[in-house]
Subunit: 333 residues, 2 copies
C-alpha cells in the first residue's frame, strides 16, 4: 500500500504560502480571514486533495458531528424507512449517522451505546431494544444527547418520542362495529415491547367497554410469518373471528395471506383486518390494508430538531399522532 496517506493542513499551508492556522480558518465558517487568503488556501487544498480531518476537529471542538443510530431488524420496511428519514435529516443538519446493528441479544444495545461513547457521538438515537438505566445515565452524564423512539419507559434525561395511541383502539373498534363485526381478535407477537403491548391492552379495554370480548393470540417475532401462524391459530377456533387487529402491518399482511389462501376467506366480506405502521406494502393492491400511519418524517424531524437545539432540559417527552388510514380491508358502512 502506498502509505503516503492523507494530506495535512501543514502541506496545504506550505503550498499556499500561509500559516497552518490560516488553513484552519479557511475551513471554519465565520472565522476571521481575508477572502483573498481563503481563496488561495482553497485552491491549494483542492490541488492537493486536502480534506479537514474530522477526527482531529472533533477532538478539539468536543463535537464529533457523529450521531449513533441503534437499531435492530433494519431489513424491515418500517425500520428502514425510519433510518432513511433520520439519516437524511441528520445530513441536512450537518451531522452524520453511524449505525449499530443490535440484532439478537438485547445486551447488544448496551454495547452499542458504549460504541457511541467511544466515538464521542454527539447523540444517540435508539430505535430498538432497551438500554440499561446505568448506560443511559452514563451517556447523559457525558453530555451525550439521547433519543428513545417508541420505547416508552421511564428514563430521565433523554428525549422520548412515542405515539399517541389514545384514540387508536377507539377508531379500530368503531370501524369494526360499523362493519358489523362482533367476534374481535387481536394478533400480537411475543416480542413484548411496551408499545406493542399497549396496543393490545388498549384494544381489549375499549372492546370490553362496548361489551365485546377479544380473542388475543400471541406468537413469535413481529413479522409476516408470524401473521400466518396467528391466522392459522385464530381461524381454526370454534368461534372464528370476523375482525382482527394486527399489532403491525407485516403481521396483518401475513394474516391476510393465510386467511385467503389457506382458509379461502374473502377480505373484507368474511374478515376485516386492520394493521399498524402503514408500510408501503400495505397500500399494494393485493392488500389495500386499513392501518395507522407512522409519522416517520415527523419523528425524524422532532428527533433531529431536539438534538440540535441548545437548550436541553426542555420538553422531554413527545407524543405524535398516527393518523388512521382507511383502505379496503375493512367493510365500510
Amino acid at each position: 500500500m502506498s502509505d503516503k496517506i492523507f494530506v495535512s493542513a501543514e502541506e496545504v499551508a506550505r503550498k499556499a504560502g500561509v500559516s497552518r492556522s490560516a488553513v484552519s480558518r479557511a475551513f471554519t465558517a465565520g472565522a476571521s480571514i481575508a477572502p483573498e487568503t481563503r481563496r488561495k488556501v482553497m485552491e491549494a487544498a483542492e490541488a492537493l486533495g486536502y480534506h479537514v480531518n474530522h477526527l482531529a476537529r472533533g477532538l478539539m471542538r468536543n463535537e464529533s458531528g457523529i450521531v449513533c443510530l441503534v437499531v435492530s431488524d433494519m431489513g424491515t420496511p418500517y425500520r428502514s424507512a425510519l433510518i432513511k428519514a433520520l439519516t437524511q435529516q441528520l445530513q441536512n443538519a450537518g451531522k452524520i449517522a453511524m449505525i449499530v446493528n443490535t440484532d439478537r441479544s438485547d445486551e447488544r444495545v448496551d454495547m452499542a451505546l458504549r460504541q457511541a461513547i467511544r466515538y464521542r457521538a454527539d447523540a444517540s438515537i435508539v430505535l430498538s431494544g432497551m438500554p440499561d438505566k446505568s448506560l443511559v445515565d452514563l451517556c447523559v452524564r457525558n453530555g451525550q444527547r439521547l433519543v428513545l423512539i417508541n420505547r416508552d419507559d421511564e428514563h430521565q434525561g433523554p428525549l422520548r418520542i412515542n405515539l399517541d395511541e389514545e384514540d387508536t383502539a377507539q377508531s379500530v373498534v368503531t370501524a369494526f362495529l360499523r362493519a358489523g363485526c362482533r367476534r374481535l381478535a387481536f394478533a400480537n407477537s411475543e416480542a413484548g415491547t411496551p408499545s406493542l403491548m399497549a396496543r393490545e391492552v388498549g384494544f381489549v379495554a375499549v372492546a370490553r367497554e362496548q361489551g365485546l370480548d377479544v380473542t388475543v393470540e400471541r406468537f413469535g417475532p413481529t413479522g409476516y410469518e408470524s401473521g400466518k401462524v396467528l391466522a392459522q391459530r385464530l381461524m381454526t377456533r370454534r368461534e372464528r373471528p370476523d375482525a382482527v387487529f394486527c399489532v403491525t402491518d407485516l403481521v396483518a399482511l401475513g394474516f391476510m395471506d393465510a386467511a385467503r389462501h389457506q382458509f379461502s376467506l374473502s377480505i373484507p366480506q368474511d374478515l376485516c383486518v386492520v394493521g399498524f405502521d402503514d408500510i408501503p406494502q400495505a397500500a399494494w393492491n393485493s392488500y389495500d390494508l386499513t392501518t395507522f400511519s407512522q409519522p416517520i418524517e415527523e419523528i425524524a424531524t422532532a428527533a433531529v430538531a431536539w438534538l440540535m437545539s441548545d437548550d436541553v432540559g426542555q420538553s422531554q417527552s413527545l407524543r405524535l399522532n398516527a393518523p388512521f388510514v382507511w383502505r379496503r380491508s375493512v367493510r365500510s358502512a
Copy 2:
C-alpha cells in the same frame, strides 16, 4: 449542559495510580502490561465510566475503524437487507458503519466520498450511484479501500462486486418457452444503471437467438408503482405479452398487481412473471414470484473480507451467482 464531558485516560491513570501510557496499554490487545496492572486500570476505568476515545486513537493509529456506506433508496427491501448484512459483518470484524444517504442527485455520491475522507474512514462501500473517477482516485491514493457493489464500471483500484448474470437471461427464456409463452416482454425502469441495462440487453439477445422478439418498455424509478404503469402500457398493446421479465422484484410485484386487479389476468395462466432480487415480499403467498436470489450474505462477506485483508492488489473484480428461485408465477412444464 453540565459540561463535565468525557473522562480521559489521565484521570483513570491518576485514580489507578499508574501512568497514562499504562491505561492506554490496558485497552490495547496484545500490549505489554502486567495482568495485575491491567486489572487495576480496568477497575478504575469502570468506576469512572471511561471509554477509549476512538477519535484520538484513530488519529494516532491512522485507522479510524469507520467504514462508510454510500447508499440511496435505503427504504427499499433489497437495499435495507444489504445494509443490514453489511453492518452486521462489519461489526463482527470490529469495524463500525457510517451511513451516507445519497437520495436524489448523483453528485451527492461525491459528497459522500468526501465525507468518508473527512472522517478518515478505513474504507467506503458504494451501493448506489456512480462516483466520479477523480474521487475514486483520491480515495485510493489516500489509502482508503473502496468497494463498488453492482456498479460495474471500469475503475481501477477498488474491489468491484457484480453478479454473474450470464445464465440469467438463458434461464428466464428457457422457463418462458417451456411454459409455452411466445410473446415476451421486458419491464425496465428508466434508472439506466449498468446492471439493470445489462439485464435487459442480455434478455433481449437470448430471446432473439431463439427467434423471439421482446417488447421492451421503460418507465420511471425502479419500484412498485413503476411496475403498475409498465403493466398498463404493456397490457394495452395490440399484441398482449404472455410473459414478462421485470428488472426487479418490486417492479414485478407492481406489475402483477396491475395485471390482476386492472386487467383481471390470472398468473401464471394468462401471464408468466419473473423478477430479480428475491426480496422477502416475493415469497409472500399473494405473489409467489419466480425470481433470482441476490446473494446478499455472500456479497457482504466478500466485501468485508477484502477490506480486512492485508494484501490489497489481489483479485479486484468478483462475480457472484444469483441462483434461480422457482415459484408459482411461471407455469411449470
